[in-house]
């Protein structure tokens, strides 16, 4: 083995852009990345999710200009008149660039909430470290825009929608937005993040990094819908630090992209902090969807909860990796992790890897996983009431997933997800194919 060559994948798809960097922080990140390469299958954390699809293209920087009409049409499709999220303040990125004309002005945000664009005041922060994570390094090197939201202490900021739209651009593009959310003590915010790209003709790569700092007694609910275009690659990383008595409550619904990963690193750094990393995926065709989490209990009396459900048809594959690390000081930790999958066709697959690493001696940590097909008795019960086979299957699949979307506290966000889910079900669950 050549000791100098990186063990990972080639950076060729980004070579020109990485070579042209000037900023010292970005150059350092590019250097970190060059040392290890993009993760290959021999890297433990990427064993089940292969990034070979990235190597097939050369990704260029998207143009900052975009088709305004197409953007308006996409937003109207996402937020029809009278829908749950239509009236909420909205921040919109198109192909990775913050589009001021489509976004709420600073003045229209609730008092105590500030929003800066990353482009105008780039600030990487210290939560997400390029040295430890190649996808954070790639983002750090190439990030051109993003939003920097902060909520002042004691302010209830309500709900804010963050949309990342992908629109057809010239060729295969990649965008690497860098977002940050900072909640002051006793502040609260619900962020509804949407990654959508309905009719994009070329493959594109969306590589967002979000860092969240949740101060004492603050409450941050982060609800995300991933509905990228069918050929897209979506690799998102979230780093959150949760202080004493604070909560980071997250939910991701994965429906789109050819290859997607939602990776959350949550650090419980103060006593009585809580984190929820819940999610659901409904995948078909040859889609790969990965939900990975690393939860670090660094203080006593903290709670972590993870419930993830997957529904897979055709040759779709889901990956769940959940690591819970309980440090020696983190006595009285209460950790729960559950991953469940419904396989609707013989070619579907789930890979689940729970990991518990516990150094404290007085903790309660449990994890579980189930894999199965639709229940024949339930199916027969529905059909015996006159409901046609395909419709009955849809009802059961929807019920399976709604039991997790119910974990979303914010009603508008939950209704939005349920609506998206219902639409996706009509597309995905049409036949009577099932495991025999």
């Amino acid at each position: 083995m050549n000791a100098i060559a990186p063990a990972g994948r080639s950076l060729a798809p980004f070579e020109t852009r990485l070579a042209g960097l000037h900023d010292s922080q970005r150059k350092a990140a590019a250097g970190d990345l060059a040392r290890v390469g993009l993760p290959g299958p021999r890297i433990e954390a990427w064993h089940y999710t292969n990034l070979r699809a990235l190597s097939a293209h050369s990704f260029t920087e998207p143009d900052a200009r975009f088709d305004e009409q197409a953007a308006h049409a996409a937003l109207e499709a996402l937020f029809p008149k009278g829908s749950a999220l239509e009236k909420l303040p909205r921040l919109v990125l198109v192909n990775g660039h913050l589009a001021a004309g489509l976004s709420a002005s600073a003045a229209s945000l609730p008092a105590g909430v500030s929003c800066l664009s990353f482009a105008s005041s780039p600030e990487f922060g210290t939560l997400a470290a390029p040295q430890r994570d190649p996808l954070v390094a790639l983002n750090t090197a190439l990030a051109s825009d993003g939003v920097r939201l902060s909520v002042a202490s004691g302010v209830n900021a309500g709900q804010i929608v963050l949309v990342s739209l992908a629109l057809s651009s010239s060729g295969t593009v990649s965008f690497h937005p860098r977002h940050s959310v900072a909640l002051g003590a006793e502040a609260s915010l619900t962020l509804i993040e949407i990654a959508a790209g309905d009719d994009v003709s070329d493959p594109y790569f969306h590589n967002p990094v979000l860092t969240c700092s949740v101060a004492e007694k603050a409450h941050f609910e982060h609800v995300k819908l991933q509905r990228e275009a069918g050929d897209a690659i979506h690799l998102a990383t979230v780093y959150a630090d949760i202080a004493s008595h604070a909560t980071y409550e997250s939910f991701v619904l994965g429906l789109g992209a050819a290859l997607a990963r939602h990776e959350v690193h949550a650090g419980l750094s103060g006593t009585h902090a809580a984190v929820h990393v819940n999610g659901a995926q409904l995948l078909g065709d040859a889609q790969v969807g990965d939900i990975t989490s690393v939860i670090m209990h660094g203080a006593p009396d903290c709670i972590s909860r993870q419930t993830v459900r997957n529904v897979l048809t055709d040759r779709a594959r889901a990956v769940f990796q959940g690591k819970v690390l309980v440090e020696r000081v983190a006595q009285k930790t209460d950790g729960y992790q559950m991953n469940q999958a419904l396989l609707l066709s013989p070619g579907a697959e789930i890979d689940a890897k729970p990991e518990l690493e516990i150094y404290a001696d007085d903790v309660r940590c449990s994890h579980g996983a189930t894999v199965g097909a639709l229940d024949e008795e339930q199916l027969f019960y529905l059909r015996s009431r006159g409901i046609a086979d395909a419709h009955a299957r849809r009802i059961l699949v929807e019920a399976f997933l709604i039991e997790v979307t119910e974990l979303v506290q914010n009603e508008a966000a939950r209704d939005f997800l349920d609506g998206e889910l219902a639409r996706a079900l009509v597309k995905r669950v049409t036949t009577g194919e099932n495991l025999s």
Partner: protein, 281 residues
Amino acid sequence: MTVVTDIKRKQDLCRDVAETSGVKKMSELLKISGLHASIDADGTPKEILRGVDLVIPPGEVHAIMGPNGCGKSTLSYVLAGREEYEVTAGSVSFIGRDLLAMEPEERAAAGLFLAFQSPVELPGVNNANFLRTAVNAVRRARGETELDAVGFLKAVRAATKNLSMSDDMLKRNVNVGFSGGEKKRNEVLQMTMLQPKLAILDETDSGLDVDALRIVAEGVRNLRSPDFSALVITHHQRLLDYLGPDRIHVMAKGRIVRSGGPELAKQIDVEGYASFLAEAA
């Protein structure tokens, strides 16, 4: 076999005569002839129904009684279309159609309803939504207009009131956390809303206290009309006292071994099944 065919031909002739003579009324809503069915038991088929013959005319309530394991529940599942059972011989006609060739949902649309012995729980499925979906699926299939939210609510409120059910049961998930009695009432509610021509009640009275039994029986009695028949599978005289069945059939070892009037149920209540089992042997 030839005998059965002959009888069938004769009955077909009779029906032809009835139809041509302008008598619209069918003499048989359900007709089961020589029905054999088996279930897969670790790779080898186990025969459970061994030649069931049964006719139910429109507007009548019939009861099937018989010892545990005689095939009563299997018969109800085969009639409703459960795929685990393989029909190896015989035929079933329902309103003149080949029932065995129909999907379970088509059977429901045609007017067959099975009240399950153990109603299935559907976590995540709201009871009211489920009921409305079922009612409208059946109405669509019958060429009737679908019920809108208001129309459905009105109909379901009337039905739940008759069954002494709380509105709360409609808001919960289907049968999840229901008591045994609530589950059975929920079955009768579905039956009321789906307006079947033939309801098969598979031990709907089991596990009910006296009051619940009366309410359930009342629910069935309310449906009695010239267009409604019921096949009641039961172990108990009490439900039959409420319903006043037209015919009693005794099932043993996968066949109907004796049919008679209501007095047969009273005889079973006193003597048990021993003599019928001897007949079946």
